[in-house]
Amino acid sequence: MPFPRLKLAAAALTTSIACSTAMLAPPSARLIEPEMIELQAGQVTYPPAGDFMRAGKPVKAPLKTTHFARGLQIMKHQVTQAEYWKCVEDRRCPSVVLPGPASADQPIVGVSWRDAEAYAVWYSGKAGKHYRLPTDEEWAFAAGSHFRDEGWPDIDDSDPARRWLARYESEFADEPTDKTPRTVGSFGANENGLLDIAGNVWEWTDTCLARVGIRDSGEQMVQTTNCGVRVVEGRHRTYVTDFIRDARSGGCAVGKPPTNLGFRLVRGD
């Protein structure tokens, strides 16, 4: 079997994404492989995604350090409309409604986690290498100084409203961003050379929403995991149901949702 790891990844999916044909198709000679950034071995210290609780009260996630002994290969730019459209033409990705006139050199937006996953499976088959969505910590590692979590300050946890207010302030702290997708590179590069991190397109990760309890000893216990909701990263971190393409209609009554949903892929191990 040419791509055993991909098969494992696909088998783990709960969604019914057809992938076997794409996997067996010979790599297309015409396929343009997007530029990859090769991050050297390193580490990231960051507050992981999820709902953390201590003694039954929500708390900010304790910082966690993860080592990337073998570095990380990640797409320099978000998957573009032109790239995604090849998958649509191959009938492996659903056609999506673009917010404006089609433009090949703009990131694809308005895609759900399921769409992004379908693209990863299709693209892996075409390229003959395993590509997948990054985990949340891989995204944080690659985003570097552009990484921002939910921005919840440590506050008096006996008063739940203070947390809600802090979150609201944090989400609206940014000046409003124009929602119109821009040409790749318009939001500049971070110190790792990745383009458009935390621009106006949020990116799907593969990380599921987890609820984590912290014991007095500091030991963490994952209590429940919900893979129907995935972590989305961008100007702030958020959690979006996997079939949502436009997060503006997938949010709660209060708070600011991502302006656009897109993605980039990493090389599988």
Binding site: K57, D159, W164, L165, Y168, K179, Q223, A253, V254, K256
Partner: protein
């Protein structure tokens, strides 16, 4: 020509005729006929309201306002959809004007020469003359002064009503606002006990009908006139493309969220000049609600959702008891979320565990004990 068309034209000619008469022989401003004190009030853009007494010991006065009609392109959602708006004093909704029962409201209405169409104003609170509409129709480059006596306490809509199809078109282009006529001795509950507010917010709701192109994208136009024919077609569907508070989706959220503190009593005045709405404060209530907006009636108490009838304003008094973020929306949730009719209240203060607490945090489902 049908008799209806004939009637419309006849009426329109009459109205234009009246406007011309005003132009030729300017009516004397009659305010000096009244030996009353005058007070000039600067209108304030919503959601805020100009300073005013809640109850007054003063004698009735002439409260004078000046407003310009304005035609301008305005953005009505986060996607940048543009509306060829028409509005009073530059804001959607127009400013809320507050007087007391027995006062005289005097309005100088200005139609700047830069505008393209006639405008007027119909005050639902006023008596006679189509609410003032027949006496205020002015062409670009004109102004008019109208005075009317505030005889009925309550919150009332005002809107532009130039006649025929022009009226709904001007209204759904943004030309409406509200007047509040307070009882001289202030608001009262059903037992006659005085009610006060620490803050007042005026929320004007609009339904907009923006035409789309053949690909389904919202169209933009160079002027109200160019937008007119397409807009009327969308209006005829009775299905708005936008239902928003204060002129655009998100106008009262984020940094523009309405603010108050725990313990503050807030009067929320809500107007809708064209279409029914059902305000609801998520996590709060209407302690005292004048659903139909008229203060001589007993306010209803402890409401969850109330109805603002199209063409009316209502008022809800609420004392915030818990801090946090509240959504104030129309409880047609599709309109609130997809079409834009959501505002936020940001309330600071101390949480009250007695009113609500999470007894057990979310976690795995526990086995039932036998």
């Amino acid at each position: 020509m049908t008799s209806l068309t004939k009637a419309m034209i006849t009426r329109r000619t009459a109205i234009i005729g009246a406007a011309s008469a005003t132009l030729v022989t300017p009516m004397p401003v009659a305010a000096h006929d009244l030996a009353l004190e005058r007070e000039n009030v600067e209108p304030v853009a919503p959601p805020f309201v100009h300073p005013h007494e809640q109850a007054t010991k003063q004698k009735p006065k002439i409260i004078a306002f000046r407003m310009e009609t304005q035609e301008k392109e305005t953005v009505i959602d986060d996607e940048g959809t543009k509306l060829q708006a028409m509005c009073f004093n530059g804001s959607i909704p127009g400013p809320m004007m507050v007087v007391h029962e027995g006062d005289y409201l005097e309005l100088t209405l200005v139609n700047p020469a830069t505008n393209s169409t006639p405008h007027n104003i119909d005050f639902h609170a006023a008596t006679g003359g189509l609410g003032g509409g027949t006496l205020t129709l002015i062409s670009p480059g004109e102004q008019v002064v109208l005075r009317w006596k505030a005889t009925r306490p309550g919150v009332f809509v005002y809107h532009c009503a130039p006649g025929g199809l022009m009226t709904p078109w001007h209204v759904v282009s943004g030309m409406s606002g509200a007047v509040m006529v307070l009882p001289r001795d202030g608001l009262k509950d059903g037992d006659g006990k005085p009610l006060h507010y620490d803050r007042i917010y005026y929320i004007g709701e609009n339904d907009f009908y923006v035409p789309r192109d053949e690909k389904g994208k919202f169209k933009s136009y160079g002027s109200p006139g160019e937008a007119y024919a397409d807009t009327v077609k969308v209006m005829q569907t009775l299905t708005p493309t936008h239902v928003v508070f204060n002129g655009r989706a998100g106008a009262l959220t984020g940094k523009a969220a309405l603010t108050a503190n725990v313990g503050d009593t807030v009067l929320i005045v809500h107007s809708q000049a064209n279409r029914d709405s059902r305000p609801h404060l998520i996590g709060g209530h209407g302690d005292y609600v004048w659903e139909t907006g008229k203060f001589s009636n007993r306010p209803e108490t402890d409401l969850e959702t109330w109805l603002i009838r199209g063409g009316s304003a209502g008022a809800a008094l609420y004392t915030f008891r818990q801090p946090g973020i509240y959504a104030y929306l129309t409880h047609n949730l599709i309109e609130a979320v997809l079409l834009g009719a959501t505002a936020h209240f940001k309330i600071e203060g101390k949480w009250d565990d007695d009113l609500m607490m999470q007894v057990k945090p979310p976690g795995p489902i526990a086995a039932l004990s036998k």
